[in-house]
Amino acid sequence: MNAVPASIARSPDRDPITLEIIRHELVSIPEQIDRNITRTAFSPLINEYKDYAVGIVDPEGRLVSQSRGSLLIFVANALGTAVRDGIALHGAAAIEDGDVLISNHAGTLGQHLNNVVMYTPVRVGPERRLLGFFCVLMHWIDVGGSMVGSCTSTTTTEIWQEGIQFRNVRLFRRGERLADMFRMIECNTRFPEMLMGDVEAQIAGCFMGRDLVAAIADKYGAATYEAAVHAMWDGAEALARAAIGRARAGEYEAHAFLDNDGINLDRPVPIGIKVRVGGGRIAVDFSGVSEQLPGPLNAGRNGGAVAAARIAIKYMLSPDEPVNEGDFRLLDVEIPEGKFLSARPGAPIGGSGNMIPTVVDTVLRALAGAFPDRVAAAHHGTYGVHSFHGISPATGASFFHLDTLPGGWGGSAALDGYGPSRSNVHGDTSDVPVEMQEAFHPYRFESYALRPDSGGPGRHRGGVGVEKVYRITGPCRVNLKIERTGCPPWGLEGGGAGRTADVEIRRTDGSVQRVFKGDHALAPGDRVILRSGGGGGYGAPRQRDAALVARDVRAGLVSPQAALRDYGVAVRENGELDSEATARARAAQPGGEP
C-alpha cells in the first residue's frame, strides 16, 4: 500500500483511510464490470477468450484504473487516447450525461480497427462536474473489410481494406439510442447478431461502471475523489522512481526482427531498440526500427511505440501494483513519424497487435543491461493468431473462430521458464475449450499437447510450447498470422534459444504445406498442425543440474538425444541418470568442467 503524500492527507475528509478505500473501490469497479461483460457478451471471443478491457480515465484521458485481466496492450494507453481525441473533436462540455461515444480511429489509436473504445462521461453533483469517463474497449468480432474477421488479412495495403472506422461518434445522446448508428454498425459486420449482442454488453458495462464511479464521488465528495486519484498516480510514480533509482544507469541496445509484413515475404523487419536509463527517467528510443511497411504489420504511434514502451517498463518497474497513469510519468518515447511502429494515417495496421510481443521482448532485452537480475530470456513472442471460418454444421450460419497460441516463456536467473501461456502483451486471455469449439465448428482436435524439446536449453530451461492437431470434418478455411518464425526466442547468459513456431497443413492426398500466413481452404480429412515456440534458456546448459535434466526426460519434455546434445546429460532407457556417461559427456563439451 502506498503512502499518501502528506500534502493530500491533511484535510479530515481526506484521511489516509478514506483515500485508501477510494483507491480500492476504483480498482475494484472495473473488475466488477469486467465480470459482467464476460457474463453478458455473445461471442466466445469476449465471453471465453476475453478480448476486451475496462477502465476509468480522468477528464484529460489519464488512466485511473483498469481491470486486471485486460490485455496489456489495451492497458497501456488506448482508452485515454480515444477520450482525448473525442474531447478535441467535441469539447468536453458537449459530451453530456448519457452520451456514449465510440472510436476505433486508426489515425489516433493506431491499433487494428476491431479494437473499439466506447465511453461515457461520469458527472456528479448539481453542477454535473466532469470527473472522467468510464470506458470499455472491446475487440469487435468483425468490422467489415476484405477478410472475415477484419484484422485477419496479411496482405492489405491500406487501412480502408481493413474495415469501417468510427471516429468518436455517438451511439447515445443524453441517454437516447441513436438508431441510425446502430443500423450502420449492423450493416458493416459479417456477424450482426453476435456483434450487436456484444455491443449491448459493452454499453451496459459503460453505464453501470459510470454509476458505480459516480456513487463513490457522491459519497465522499468530488474533491476527495480527485485527491484519491492524484494520490494513486503519485504513489505509482514514486514506486517507478524508486525502481529506476536502483537500476544501473546507462544506454543499452538490443536487436531482433520480425518475419515479414505479409507482402514482401523474404524481407525481415528489423527492430533496433535503445534505452537510456538515468536522471530519474527512462527513455525508449525506437528510431532504429524498420520504416513503415507496405503490408499490415504496422501500428500507429500510440498503438505501437507508446504501447510497447509502456508495457515493457511496467514489467520492470512495478509489476505487482495495479496500473495507472502514474506508472508512465517518467517514461519518454522517442520515434520519428513513418516507422512501422509510428505509421502514418492510412497505413495498413491489421497486424498491429500481433508483433508487439516481440517489440516488448526486445525492449526488455535492452533493459536487461539496467536491470540485470530481473529480465528473463525471450518468450515465444507472438500472438500466433489462427482463425477458422466457414459455415457451422451446428447452426448452419457462418462462423468465425479466432484463436491464439500459448507458448513457452524464458528462463531467468532464479527460475526455469514458464509455459505454455499467452504472450507478454496478453492479459488473462483464455483458450476457448476444445469441447466448445467441437460443438460448433467443422473440426475436431486430435491432440492438444506440450511440445517436447521446444524450450531453449539452459541452467534454467526455457518453457515449452504446444502442439495442436486439428482434423477437419467439413469444408472451412483457416486464416494464419503466425510470426516470429525466423528470429528464435533468444537465451540469456549462455542459454540456448527456444524453438520457433511452426505450421503444417497435411492434405488427404499426402501433400504437406508449410505456411505461416494467409487464408487457406480446407477439406474434410485435412489436418492442420500448429506448434508454438518455446522460451529461451538462461545460463549455460551444462550448468544445469543433471538430475533435473533426467526429470525432464522422464516427463517427455526433453528427448534423450537433446539431453545428451544440449546438456551433456546421459539418461538410461528407464529414465535414470547415467552419471558416468554424463561426466564424460560434460567434460568433453566446450567449456570443460561439468
Binding site: 457474463r39 454499453i203 531467468s412 496478453h426 467441437e438 482436435f445
Partner: protein, 684 residues
C-alpha cells in the same frame, strides 16, 4: 436416541456440539485435535459432554482433511487417464496468465505429474456420438502399468464425456476391476458440464484426495460403530448442506471447505434472527482466520472453487461458500529472521506441539503465547482450566526469540514484542477482510464484524478499530460456533437438468416435467439418506438471451405463466447488468433444484445462556497490556455466563467463557442482547 451431534475437526481443536432434542439445550466439548486418530479426538470431545454415542440419532461431521490434503500436497499417488492426445490438458489449462506484467508468474504444478498422465484410444464427438470405440485392450495394458507404478488413485477424464459418459463409465469399471485397491473416479461422476480442463482438474483433484478420504471415513465409521452408534452419519458439504458418507466417499471434493461453512450457517441464522442486514463473519481458529459476507441473511456460494486461489491455483467444479482465508491463527508462529524482520504465520504450531504455553513441547512463540503474556487471556481460564497455560514459559520464549533479536529487553520489552506479534497478525487479518469487502466493491464500514472461533473475539475490537468498523457482535459460545452452525444445517441436495428451450410455446410443460423428475429423484435420495421425504424445494431456472454463454438464475413457481417468467428474467437481468436486449429471444438452459430436508435443530433463544444476576460483578482483576498510550491497566474480568440480557460492560474489560475470550478496549461498551449476543460499540 434424543441427541444430535455435530463434530468439527480443525487444525488445532476438535469441537463437538450436542443438541438434546428433548430438553432443547446444547452442550459442547472441545479437545485438541489428534492427528494420529482424528475420530478419537471427536469421541473424546463427545465424552466431555457426557453423552453416549448409542443415544445419538445423528452425527454431522465437518473436517479440514480435504483442503489440508491439497495444501500440504499429501494426497495419493495419482494417475490420469485421458483421451488420446489430451494428457496435457491438466497442465496447459486455459493458457492464460491471471497476473499481468509479471515475468515471475508461475502456476502451482498440476496434482498429477506428466509421467503419471496416460492416454487411451476412444473418441466421442460433441453430441456424444461414438467416433472410435474405447480401447478396452489398451486400457487393460495400462491398468497393469499403473499397478506396476504403485498408483493409489486414478482419475478418468475424456473429451466430450459431458455429452455422453459411457466411455468414462466403461473405463472406470475396467480400472476398478483391474485395480481393486485403487480409488478410481471420473469427471462426469462429479459434473456433467462441458469444458475439458475444469472437468479434468476436478476429476484429478477428486482422485488425489479420494483415497485418503475413503480411509478417513472408513476409520471414522468404524470408531462410531465400536461405541455403539446406530444413527445416521453425515458429512458437512462446502455448499451449506450435509451429505451422506457414501456421497462423501464418491465426491470428496464436495467437502473442500467443509470446516468453515458451519460458522457461516450460524452467522446467517443470527443475522436473520437479529435483523442485521450486513455482517462480516470472521472466524479465527488455531491455524487460520477466515471471513465471509452475510447479506440479508444469506452467504454467497461460488460454482467454481480454485484450490490455491484463481491466480495460481486450479479449478474444482463444486459449489463452495465465498470465503477469504489467511494463515493467521492462535497457533501462528512468530519468528525474527536473520535480517531482523519479524514475521507471524503462516507456519502454525497446531495442536502438536502447540503454543509454548501448552507445555506440550512447543518452543517457538505463537499468537496465543503473546495474548497470554499480555494478560488478554488468563492462565487458568483456557478451556475452563482443563488446559493449564504456562505464562512464564511463554514470556521466556517471546523474550528469547522475539524481544531480544529485535533489541527489546526486560518485562516492558517483552510486552512491546508481544504486542508487535499481535499487530502483525492483525495486519494480515485486516487484509483478508479488505479483500472480501472493499475489493468486492463494499464499504467495510457499513458492515458489522461478527466474530467467533477461539481467537475471533480476542481480536475483533482491535480489527474493528483498524478497519473503521463501528460495531462488533460476538454470539454465545463463539469458540464452538462453527459446530453450532453445523447443528443448524439441514440436509441439502442440489440437482440440475439441462432443458434447452426457448421461453415460448410449450416450454412451461417441459419445465414442469423436468421438475417432476428432479423432485422425485431428490425425494428418493433423501429417503435413503435421511429417512424422510418431507422436503422443501427451491426451483431456479438458468436463463439467458439466445447466443450468450452465461446465464442468470430466475426463480420458478409451479404453475407459473411464461409471461411472468420472462418479466422476472428481464427484471433480474436489468438489476444485475443494467440493461436488457429487448429484441433477443430468451432461452431456458437448465432447471436447478435445491431440495432441503428439515432436521430437528436448536432454537437460538434457548442458547442465550443462564439468565444470570441482574448485575454481574467482575470475577477478577488482571493487569492487561493495551497498546500505547495505555500500557498495563488493571482490568476487570467478567464471566460471560453471569452476564444477563440487557447488562452492559465498559472497556477496558475481559469477558471470559468456555474456550473464548472477548477483549474490550478502553472506551468500548458491550451490551448483552436477547439472544445472549454481545454487541460492542467500539470507541473511535
Amino acid at each position: 436416541m434424543r441427541y444430535l451431534v455435530a463434530a468439527d475437526t480443525g487444525g488445532t481443536f476438535t469441537d463437538v456440539a450436542v443438541y438434546d432434542a428433548g430438553a432443547g439445550t446444547v452442550a459442547y466439548g472441545k479437545t485438541l485435535t489428534r492427528y494420529d486418530d482424528l475420530a478419537l479426538g471427536v469421541l473424546d470431545g463427545l465424552a466431555a459432554t457426557g453423552v453416549a454415542l448409542a443415544d445419538a440419532a445423528l452425527v454431522k461431521h465437518g473436517t479440514t482433511h480435504v483442503i489440508n490434503t491439497f495444501i500440504q500436497r499429501s494426497g495419493a499417488r495419482t494417475a490420469l487417464v485421458a483421451t488420446r492426445g489430451f494428457r496435457d490438458t491438466l497442465e496447459i489449462g486455459r493458457g492464460n496468465r491471471p497476473v499481468p506484467f509479471s515475468l515471475e508468474y508461475r502456476r502451482l504444478p498440476p496434482l498429477v505429474p506428466r509421467e503419471l498422465r496416460f492416454e487411451v484410444g476412444g473418441r466421442l464427438d460433441a453430441r456424444g456420438v461414438e467416433i472410435e470405440p474405447l480401447d478396452v485392450a489398451g486400457l487393460g495394458a495400462l491398468a497393469a502399468q499403473l499397478r506396476a507404478l504403485e498408483v493409489e488413485a486414478v482419475a478418468v477424464s475424456f473429451i466430450n464425456a459431458y455429452a455422453n459418459p459411457a466411455h468414462e463409465e466403461q473405463a472406470v469399471a475396467v480400472l476398478r476391476e483391474a485395480l481393486p485397491a485403487a480409488y478410481v473416479t471420473a469427471g462426469t461422476l462429479l459434473t456433467r458440464e462441458w469444458f475439458e480442463y475444469e472437468r479434468t482438474s476436478t476429476a484429478a483433484a477428486n482422485a488425489y484426495v479420494g483415497a485418503r478420504m475413503r480411509g478417513y471415513l472408513d476409520a471414522f465409521e468404524a470408531r462410531l460403530a465400536e461405541r455403539g452408534f446406530g444413527g445416521r452419519f453425515y458429512m458437512m458439504g462446502s455448499n451449506g448442506g450435509v451429505l451422506s458418507a457414501a456421497r462423501a466417499r464418491a465426491q470428496p471434493v464436495a467437502l473442500v471447505e467443509s470446516g468453515p461453512i458451519g460458522g457461516c450457517i450460524g452467522a446467517a441464522e443470527y443475522a436473520r434472527a437479529l435483523g442485521l442486514p450486513r455482517l462480516i463473519a470472521f472466524d479465527m481458529g488455531g491455524t487460520t482466520a477466515k471471513c465471509a459476507l452475510v447479506q440479508d441473511g444469506h452467504f454467497d456460494v461460488q460454482p467454481v472453487y480454485y484450490i490455491g486461489g484463481y491466480d495460481h491455483g486450479f479449478p474444482l467444479k463444486t459449489p463452495v461458500l465465498d470465503i477469504v482465508e489467511v494463515g493467521a491463527g492462535g497457533g501462528s508462529i512468530a519468528a525474527v529472521d536473520e535480517r531482523g524482520r519479524l514475521s507471524v504465520g503462516p507456519r502454525s504450531a497446531g495442536s502438536e506441539p502447540g503454543p509454548v504455553a501448552f507445555g506440550r513441547g512447543g518452543t517457538e512463540p505463537t499468537v496465543t503465547d503473546a495474548n497470554l503474556v499480555l494478560g488478554r487471556i488468563g492462565g487458568s481460564a483456557f478451556m475452563q482450566g482443563r488446559l493449564a497455560l504456562d505464562t512464564a514459559a511463554a514470556a521466556q520464549a517471546i523474550a528469547a526469540r522475539v524481544a531480544a533479536p529485535l533489541g527489546y529487553h526486560g518485562p516492558d520489552g517483552v510486552d512491546v514484542a508481544a504486542q508487535g506479534v499481535l499487530d502483525l497478525a492483525c495486519a494480515t487479518m485486516a487484509g483478508a477482510i479488505r479483500e472480501i469487502t472493499i475489493e468486492r466493491g463494499h464499504d467495510v464500514r457499513e458492515f458489522r464484524l461478527f466474530a467467533f472461533g477461539g481467537g475471533g473475539p480476542l481480536f475483533a475490537t482491535i480489527l474493528a478499530r483498524r478497519l473503521n468498523i463501528p460495531e462488533v457482535v460476538v454470539p454465545p459460545q463463539p469458540g464452538n460456533f462453527s459446530t453450532l452452525g453445523m447443528l443448524i444445517a439441514g440436509a441439502r441436495i442440489d440437482l440440475s437438468r439441462t432443458v434447452v428451450a426457448e421461453a415460448a410455446g410449450e416450454a412451461a410443460a417441459r419445465i414442469e416435467a423436468a421438475y417432476a423428475e428432479l423432485e422425485a429423484e431428490a425425494a428418493r435420495t433423501m429417503q435413503v439418506e435421511l429417512g424422510t421425504s418431507a422436503l422443501s424445494f427451491e426451483r431456479v431456472l438458468e436463463m439467458r438471451y439466445r447466443g450468450q454463454k452465461h446465464t442468470v438464475a430466475v426463480p420458478w413457481t409451479p404453475g407459473q405463466e411464461l409471461a411472468t417468467l420472462l418479466e422476472a428474467f428481464a427484471t433480474t437481468y436489468r438489476r444485475r447488468y443494467g440493461n436488457t436486449n429487448a429484441d433477443c429471444a430468451v432461452e431456458i438452459l437448465g432447471a436447478r433444484l435445491g431440495a432441503q430436508a428439515a432436521i430437528p435443530r436448536p432454537q437460538l433463544e434457548r442458547l442465550a445462556g443462564a439468565a444470570g444476576a441482574a448485575a454481574a460483578n467482575a470475577v477478577a482483576v488482571r493487569a492487561v497490556y493495551f497498546p500505547p498510550p495505555h500500557g498495563r491497566l488493571d482490568t476487570p474480568v467478567y464471566a460471560r455466563a453471569a452476564l444477563a440480557a440487557g447488562h452492559a460492560v465498559e472497556g477496558p474489560a475481559i469477558i471470559e467463557e468456555y474456550s473464548a475470550t472477548t477483549v474490550l478496549m478502553p472506551g468500548d461498551r458491550a451490551v448483552v442482547g436477547a439472544l445472549g449476543e454481545l454487541t460492542i460499540r467500539c470507541a473511535p
